[in-house]
Amino acid sequence: MLNRQGRPTQAGDAAAERHETFTGNRALQQIEPLIFEIGHHETTGVDIDKPAPFKSRLGKHARKGEIGLPGLSEPEAMRHYVRLSQKNYGIDTGLFPLGSCTMKHNARLNEKMARLPGFSDVHPLQPLSTVPGALDVMLELARYLMTLTGMPAVALSPKAGAHGEACGMMAIKAAIEAKGEAATRNVVLVPESAHGTNPATAALIGFSVKAVPARPDGTVAVEDVKALLGPEVAAIMLTNPNTCGIFEPQIVEIAAAMHEAGAYFYCDGANFNAIVGKARPGDLGVDAMHINLHKTFSTPHGGGGPGAGPVVLSERLAPFAPVPFIHVENGKSRLVEHKAEAPEGNDPFGRMTAFHGQMGMYVRALAYMLSHGSDGMKQASEDAVLNANYIRAGLADLMSLPFPDHPSMHEALFDDEWLKGTGVSTLDFAKAMIDEGYHPMTVYFPLVVHGAMLIEPTESESKASLDLFIATLRDLAIAAKGNDKTRFTAAPHHAPIRRLDETRAARQPVLKWEKPQPVAKAAE
């Protein structure tokens, strides 16, 4: 018997019963307790000699009583975390088509470079004369980012995408204040299809949010924007390519309309991977755009961070860039760490973070850029777009496309129209993909599409990988329309754990481990 990949299988294994095991383990899938259940308070996996007797200077602040945390010996700790890792899916495991997240290959060269002692083992406040190479990295990264975006300035320090959004919107607010319009310009336009971080950021900085409706074709129309413009509008926050995976065709007109109305254009750069080397935000009229180094430039997502969110700025916003930044004059560079030290013509709005931002991510991103070069980065974007459209072409006859009139950029968006009446939901479909060895696509986002499925394969996938993925999704789609509902509604069947009760988690939050009470006592 051959499986769908053409490899022989043992006869009858498909019907294998799940024999119960003594341990509850299933071979490589091990049930792993919490460290609090296996460690001991007196155990440590780090050998440190006791210091010679000395006179404490802690005064009355010395800790009384123990902390209440166990330790593990090194072999125990190693095994514990290796077992945990085996319950995780990563890009290195398989195709990770998470739309809007750009899960591309993480080259280990970049990890190696970030660990050079000259980068990893330098302190942010050691004398600047001892870190010229660190400033070189920042300058070089800045040069690449400005060239790729066609923008004249960049603030490197934001720590992630949402932090970059905050930085860009603060620059806009500072520019508005400098014009004496702070009291009146307090509305930010955000399309309904935007990432949740956009309205959250605008609100954080004291703007009120007005929604821009989505057109039936998945784009934002300049007339709709114009209809909302007025002296109270500070900016628009627009993602381009947008969250439906479409390059906004009227982006230049929208930018012009904003500028004409005395407002600014913030571009959410989450989807920059589609256009690196193909189009420059600076040519489109963008005033500020954050770049997720952990998406476009492949610094690892690491289970939810750390990220890095440098913000490129237009000429109009550049003077307001936060500290720190590197000022170059007559070929000499200087790190400006305080507002009062800013050169003539600069009026920094403040500081986003302690120190200088995510140096470890700068190094990784720069290694990525040097490796790819201008030719490789352009090719990467083209391949990312090609791969997304190839998947779309392979599935369009079975699954429904909400916006068939525009080509997809680096991600293909489907809705759940095709699942109507099947009893299978987008979530069920996603969970069935887990059984097939895939990470699900982004689901239920963007919100403007019902039961959205947003597939972003990135340029890291081979054609063979895409072909198997398409074949798998076709098989699932046909099955979803057929009779085998439990393949979906009870999925995943083969993951380390079954579907989890999220309602219970939220209703009775258990947010840390507590020592179990003895039964008799608990019953009192």
Binding site: D49, K50, R63, E74, Y89, P124, R351, S374
Partner: protein
């Protein structure tokens, strides 16, 4: 290009399958004239060896902490990290995974987040901790916003012992949100009268201990007065190892505790990425920023973990969210958790003891140098010394002699009249020889 699997034949086949003649047809929505035709003015692709050469040259220009006697702190600290930590965080399944939105295939991440939350709760003495912030400084700004939500007031009082960068981050965000901040002047000897600032208009008081000058501060009276006026105490630390030796802020009445977790598990990295620790009383949990991991069960009744209480977060609540934070510090959290698990309370206590012993030894030795005065009454592993000359010049001169001596207060607070102050940290990495080299070089320079 080694990272791109498609061949030219693949590309042609795929374009044909899509039904377009060339890839630029897929970019047809790009407005006329805006599609680039020429490659951008940047170097072409390079092999691994060449990239290593270029990056290696830049790295070699920097002086690494391990290569010299090193006493620089003030918010980031050089500690020894066990080899196991860096090995484990580089496992593919951790390094290349995403935020655990699909919990069935992310139990590894979720379980270590749960362990992390428990560890941070225990260390800080608080009831609940989140799954991390970007770093200590941004966490502090978020804590202030949280206090504003809880108290429905909009005025924060910041201690003069708070790290100046943290103060600036809070001020920047508060100014943008039209909230009031009272930042007390630099308080070298922990002698400010912060109690006098607390009244019924104050939302929160932000106090760091050990403070930026190394002083340990008594938080209990501040908590007491804050609570009497309906305000919250936000306790901040930048050196998490101190919690192995000092009374935790939770035991002193803090309502929110924020700190920098870099010291455990994470390298200096010239300032980032680091990991912000964030803990609070559980009655405020629904006003907390950031992700929370919670325990639940699966369809078979097995224990499992999920991200929870996400109705606080931006992807659900949008402009009504408690914060705009999305990506946090996942892998730095993992490094923290593994190192903390290896230490355990026994190892952390010992580590803290060694840090304190080393700092005491150095302080005593420096006090013997002519013209040098130790300003701290109490400290953990960092203290401030007064020099007879401007500290910035002294630090430069010491760097020439191969000693990285500390952070001049003027680097953080220019124009504050603190030019003769040097903030000196001493962790477990320093040997007797390192300390002797520092003392000798300082005596020569002065």
């Amino acid at each position: 290009m080694r990272y791109l699997p498609l061949t030219d034949t693949d590309r042609e086949d795929m374009l044909a399958r899509i039904g377009v003649s060339g890839v630029d047809e897929l970019f047809s929505d790009v407005p006329a004239g805006k599609l680039l035709t020429e490659p951008l003015d940047l170097p072409r692709a390079k092999g691994e060896l060449e990239v290593e050469r270029i990056m290696g040259r830049m790295a070699a220009k920097n002086v690494a902490a391990t290569s010299v006697p090193f006493f620089v702190g003030a918010g980031a600290y050089k500690h020894h990290v066990p080899a196991t930590v860096d090995h484990l965080i580089q496992r593919s399944e951790f390094l290349t995974s995403y935020t655990p939105y699909q919990p069935e295939i992310a139990q590894g991440t979720l379980q270590y987040l749960f362990e992390f939350q428990t560890q941070v709760s225990a260390l800080t003495g608080m009831e609940v901790a989140n799954a991390s912030m970007y770093d200590g400084s941004t966490g502090t700004a978020e804590a202030v916003l949280m206090a504003h939500r809880v108290t429905r007031r909009r005025k924060a009082v910041l201690s003069g012992g708070l790290h100046p960068h943290y103060t600036q981050v809070v001020e920047t965000l508060s100014e943008m949100a039209n909230d009031e901040v009272v930042a007390l002047p630099a308080d070298v000897k922990a002698s400010e009268d912060i109690l006098a600032q607390i009244d019924d208009s104050v939302s929160c008081v932000v106090v760091q201990s050990p403070d930026v000058f190394g002083n340990l501060r008594d938080l209990a009276p501040i908590a007491e007065k804050a609570h009497a006026h309906g305000a919250l105490l936000i306790a901040v630390f930048t050196e998490v190892v101190s919690l192995g030796a000092v009374t935790p802020p939770g035991a002193q009445g803090a309502d929110i505790v924020v700190g920098e977790g870099q010291s455990i598990g994470n390298a200096l990295n010239f300032g980032g990425p680091y990991v912000g620790l964030f803990a609070a009383k559980s009655k405020y949990v629904r006003q907390m920023p950031g992700r929370l991991c919670g325990e639940t069960v699966d369809a078979d009744g097995q224990r499992g973990f999920v991200l929870t209480l996400s109705t606080r977060e931006q992807h659900i609540r949008r402009d009504k969210a408690t914060s705009n934070i999305c990506t946090n510090s996942g892998l730095c959290v993992l490094a923290f958790t593994i190192h903390m698990t290896l230490l355990g309370q026994a190892g952390l206590s010992r580590l803290a003891e060694v840090n304190h012993a080393n700092a005491v030894q150095l302080a005593d030795a420096l006090a013997g140098v002519k013209g040098v005065e130790i300003l701290n009454e109490s400290f953990f592993n960092e203290f401030t010394i007064k020099l007879p000359k401007p500290a910035a010049a002294v630090v430069e001169a010491l760097a020439e002699k191969g000693v990285l001596a500390g952070v001049p207060a003027s680097r953080l607070m220019p124009g504050a009249g603190l030019d003769d102050l040097l903030i000196v940290a001493n962790t477990e990495i320093n040997t007797d020889d390192d300390r002797a080299a520092f003392v000798k070089a300082l005596a020569e320079v002065l």
